[in-house]
Symmetry: C2
Subunit: 262 residues, 2 copies
């Protein structure tokens, strides 16, 4: 079997090149991928995670100085290779890593929810770091679907991707959902965390598969989802702090579900 | 009993004022508090958390436009009030909140570890958001002491304080420790998380009180602390992801300890 071929790279050194402009937009505008239908994925960790999950990039991008030393797995990953003058690369990248590489991936359009897949529902979460951390925990604990209600931080934004550490590629990610439609679609027990009522998590019997609903950092879970819940769960906090960080609460709940399913 | 008096404010409008310069340094330099021996705490949430835990600020600072509407609890909190011209305030603040207020708190010097207090050990953690989230979880789950090994992100930096959401004021915080001295000081079972060996957390019997050791985001726990551990603990990850975010792992472990102690 012949070794996979390495597409000859196109070299770009003009800042006004249309592709360079698109890459800048994808890298700096957190919702730019929505209009474009494609997403910018940067750095060795994320790129290798994408390949490991079977992604085939539309485009692989390298800096001029990194290209000669770029590992073959990245050079032969895409149907097209582009090499940017170092100054152009510097204007796109958000990383300090010496591996100057990124992929452009086509996003699947109009994905619908799988009704019975173990799901994490993000109900208008605002902080990109929290969202990325929850995506990562979801993948670690055997959940296979993220369902984000409209108003949640953009799931494929560069910040969320970085915090997700590649977990995006292991999950079905559906965003921009209407809460009522989401409740209609999912055929799973819905669990919500509550600070004042419900069963204590460490004593609760948890169903599997299930959908955990994680709510807005300030306002919590919206009334529609709260009412649709089959179980309300409390996390004990003997220290008496007002509330946990939502990504910390999510990790605790998703781990408890994984342990219950084991 | 007479109502507490409100110190007449000193109004400052010069950017070259020595106090303004100090505030800028405290607000923007993550380790500035170490030299100064005092820390800048900003915004209504953090300031009220500090007061609720009995802190008495050396100084309360307000913007000119916020001062007339500032609640009495903040105006009478410190022995000295300072009002800054709005432009000076804008050069100091990192928040977008309309409550333009901050405290300067004196830091206790040369704190030593309490040998048997439930403790979270931070072993060279780098990310301010992770450190703050862990401080917050520690307080929520009944731990009373943070012991940070030298090389850990500055615990009283503005970023860590923000992510900690006031939990700092509920804890004894000791930083800049040498790992060997720390092991010598603590009279508690030391628990470390491990990705490849040890007891599964969801089946383990956990001691209380205890000290959890959380390691560097990339390198994990250092060999000295690893060797001193009385128990190695694994978190199940059926999704097969390489590792959890350290703040997520911390939340899961600290909650499990709280549940075991209940």
């Amino acid at each position: 079997m012949p070794a996979p071929s390495i597409p000859a790279p196109t070299f770009i050194e003009s800042a006004s090149n249309a592709l360079v402009k698109e890459l800048r937009r994808l890298a700096h505008d957190s919702t730019g991928y929505r209009k474009a239908g494609r997403v910018w994925v940067e750095g060795e960790h994320l790129c290798s995670a994408a390949l490991a999950r079977g992604q085939r990039p539309a485009l692989a991008v390298f800096s001029e100085s990194f290209w000669p030393q770029a590992p073959a797995e990245y050079r032969q990953a895409a149907t097209k290779n582009v090499v940017l003058a170092d100054a152009l690369w510097a204007a796109i990248t958000a990383l300090e890593s010496p591996a100057h590489l990124g992929f452009v991936l086509e996003l699947a359009h109009g994905q619908s929810l799988v009704p019975d897949a173990p799901t994490v529902v993000l109900d208008r979460l605002q902080d990109a770091g929290n969202v990325g951390s929850i995506v990562r925990s979801a993948a670690a604990f055997g959940f296979t679907q993220i369902a984000a209600v409209r108003g949640t931080a953009a799931l494929w934004s560069p910040k969320v991707l970085r915090a997700g550490m590649g977990a995006h590629f292991a999950l079905r990610v559906v965003e921009g959902l209407d809460a009522a439609a989401l409740i209609e679609s999912l055929r799973l027990p819905l669990l919500v965390t509550s600070s004042h009522q419900g069963d204590w998590l460490h004593r609760a019997t948890l169903p599997w598969p299930c959908a955990w609903v994680l709510g807005h950092e300030g306002q919590g879970v919206s009334p529609a989802l709260e009412q649709a819940a089959s179980q309300r769960i409390r996390i004990m906090q003997p220290g008496g702090e007002e509330s946990l960080n939502v990504a910390a609460a999510a990790a605790i709940c998703l781990h408890a579900s994984a342990a219950a399913a084991a």
